[in-house]
């Protein structure tokens, strides 16, 4: 009797479950799952307009000979390799400083450093473009304090344009990452510090042997998120430098956009490039998980 009743409840509950997730499931299936699969299939096809045919590894072979692609890939990696570590270290440092319970004006500092997160990527990109123009504000300030004697061609020089994108990204995202670290730091039981102090660990030792291991999961999370973010970079490349000069700041997503809408559209080839991003996101995420896991033992 009881078993019969509970079976009925289970069936009812199961039906309700589908009811609740139904809309979400249909939408994600059509607008997330299907596009991923379709894009994967498309990456082995080529053609123009609406007619596409199987091309085997043709697109992948084309990638190797495509100098613009290679440039975009290396640009994206430069952003990733320099920007993510710099930002993570900065954010960790600031979070640690802000976590001091005796610190005054903590609310002000935290709000100020978090503030860049409220800007849209387009708005801040254009702001940075205007500040860093050759005759613009930053050059003027740097020349006034005699740090440089000639204006830096931030937007016109391949090297400085990359530096500019990295500076801009760091400005926009450091506060965001800092908030994650700060909230984790505040979740650490104060008695742990107390115990460490009694054992004679100084601030540095406390940081490296106690705080850092405890923060590892959140650092892993933020670096994986930053990796995905950097590899998908588009708004900055599009709005600060428009990929220039001579593709020196072109990101992979920006190149995909160009292949799709600027040149004769080739959806197949664009899909192949997009799977290069998927490939690297997967590899880097696995690598980061591995690195974090190894230190755990």
């Amino acid at each position: 009797m009881k078993a019969h009743r509970s079976r009925g409840v289970v069936r009812y509950q199961n039906r309700s479950g589908w009811l609740f997730i139904g809309t979400g499931l249909v939408l994600t299936a059509i607008f997330s799952l299907y596009p991923v699969i379709s894009s994967f299939i498309l990456s082995f096809q080529t053609g123009k307009g609406a007619v596409y045919h199987f091309n085997g590894f043709g697109n992948i072979i084309r990638l190797f000979g495509d100098t613009v692609f290679r440039q975009a890939l290396s640009n994206t990696f430069v952003y990733f390799i320099f920007q993510v570590p710099v930002m993570t270290v900065l954010a960790l440092t600031i979070a640690t400083l802000l976590n001091d319970p005796k610190l005054k004006f903590k609310g002000f500092f935290r709000t100020a450093i978090f503030l860049p997160c409220v800007t849209s990527l387009v708005a801040y990109s254009v702001l940075f473009k205007s500040m860093f123009s050759t005759e613009g504000l930053i050059n003027k300030l740097l020349m006034n304090i005699h740090l440089i004697s000639q204006p830096i061609p931030w937007i016109l020089d391949p090297f400085w344009a990359k530096v500019l994108i990295i500076i801009a990204l760091t400005w926009r995202w450091t506060g965001y990452n800092m908030i994650f670290y700060l909230s984790s730091l505040q979740n650490i039981d104060p008695s742990i510090y107390e115990a460490a102090r009694i054992d004679g660990a100084n601030k540095f030792k406390q940081f490296f042997y106690i705080i850092l291991p405890l923060l590892k999961p959140i650092i892993l999370f933020t670096t994986v998120m930053s990796t995905i973010g950097t590899l998908q970079l588009f708004d900055e490349s599009f709005n600060i430098t428009n990929g220039g000069p001579a593709n020196a700041t072109l990101s992979l997503s920006h190149y995909i956009y160009n292949v799709l809408f600027k040149f004769t559209p080739n959806f197949g080839y664009a899909a192949t490039i997009s799977f290069v991003i998927v490939f690297f996101v997967a590899i880097l995420a696995i690598l980061q998980f591995k690195m974090a896991g190894d230190k755990n033992d």
Binding site: I21, L27, F109, A112, T119, L127, S130, D235, S253
Partner: protein, 287 residues
């Protein structure tokens, strides 16, 4: 134990230690002040820029000007500002409502009615969260162009409403929700949907507040996908307008800064009015 603690503390606040500590904390304050200034500075620049003539902005003049009204009028001549703001608001408000409804129902459903099949589906969805948008963009474009929905906000809202991130956020928050409440509601004769709307929704107000801020921001600030989908000028949103103003050969930065202020104001107000929920929403899924 307590005794040794106070001993250590006494040692730190004595003589030389006190001096070293003062110097250390001065360094901390200097570092934090400089960082704060660097973070706030572009906002000051934006405000100064909006009050200045284009020439002064381009030459990096750091002063307040008298051109604000003039810039605003010029902006109105260059773009159809009321229309663009109305577009952005319609897209953002509709999008936020649809996304919150769909995602909270799904997040609740996945957490409250766990079965092995649904867990598998959920994990599959989480996996697609790792796939960059660039990889989905092409099939999405083909879907909406086949459905003749390009240049329509539906094409922006539907893919964003299926945000796995927001579903994930609601599921994580539902974990802290007491299931006994729903059990009690069932006893009182409420059906499953009623229990959701009358019990879950009011209890989870702060979760909804935090999520709505994040979703609001993602619609208001969205760029790449609207850039692809919205092709006619009368559908453009504020980010698209700013981007096209800035990419002209002779950008008028005074005017552009005015547009940027208008675009940033809503999110800024949201941030200062609901700072706690704002930060909570950003942290969201991690907790």
């Amino acid at each position: 134990m307590t005794k040794s603690r106070t001993l250590i503390r006494n040692k730190q606040t004595h003589g030389k230690f006190q001096w070293v500590n003062a110097a250390k904390s001065a360094v901390v304050y200097i570092i934090l002040s400089i960082t704060s200034l660097l973070c706030i500075f572009p906002f000051i620049w934006m405000i100064l820029g909006a009050t200045s003539a284009s020439r002064d902005v381009s030459s990096g003049k750091l002063s307040i000007g008298l051109e604000l009204i003039n810039n605003f009028n010029k902006l109105n001549e260059l773009i159809d500002l009321p229309r663009i703001l109305a577009n952005t608001a319609v897209l953002t408000i509709c999008g936020t409502i649809v996304t919150l409804v769909v995602a909270s129902l799904a997040g609740y459903g996945f957490e409250m009615y766990k079965t092995r099949t649904r867990e598998k589906i959920y994990n599959l969805l989480l996996l697609t969260m790792m796939v960059p948008f660039a990889a989905m963009m092409i099939p999405l474009f083909r879907i909406f162009s086949a459905a003749k929905l390009l240049n329509n906000y539906v094409a922006i809202i539907l893919p964003m409403a299926a945000s796995i991130f927001v579903i994930f956020y609601f599921r994580q928050s539902t974990k802290t929700f007491s299931k006994e409440l729903i059990q009690a509601a069932r006893m009182d004769g409420l059906n499953e949907l009623q229990a959701f709307f009358y019990i879950y929704l009011p209890t989870m107000k702060s979760t909804y507040a935090a999520a709505s801020i994040i979703v609001f921001m993602s619609y208001w600030n969205s760029f790449l996908w609207p850039l692809i989908v919205l092709q006619s000028n009368d559908k453009k949103t504020i980010t698209l307008a700013i981007s096209s103003l800035a990419s002209s050969y002779t950008p008028d930065y005074g005017v552009i800064m005015t547009a940027i202020i208008i675009a940033t104001l809503p999110t800024m107000i949201l941030f200062f009015a609901m700072q706690k929920q704002f930060v909570e929403g950003m942290l969201g899924s991690v907790k």
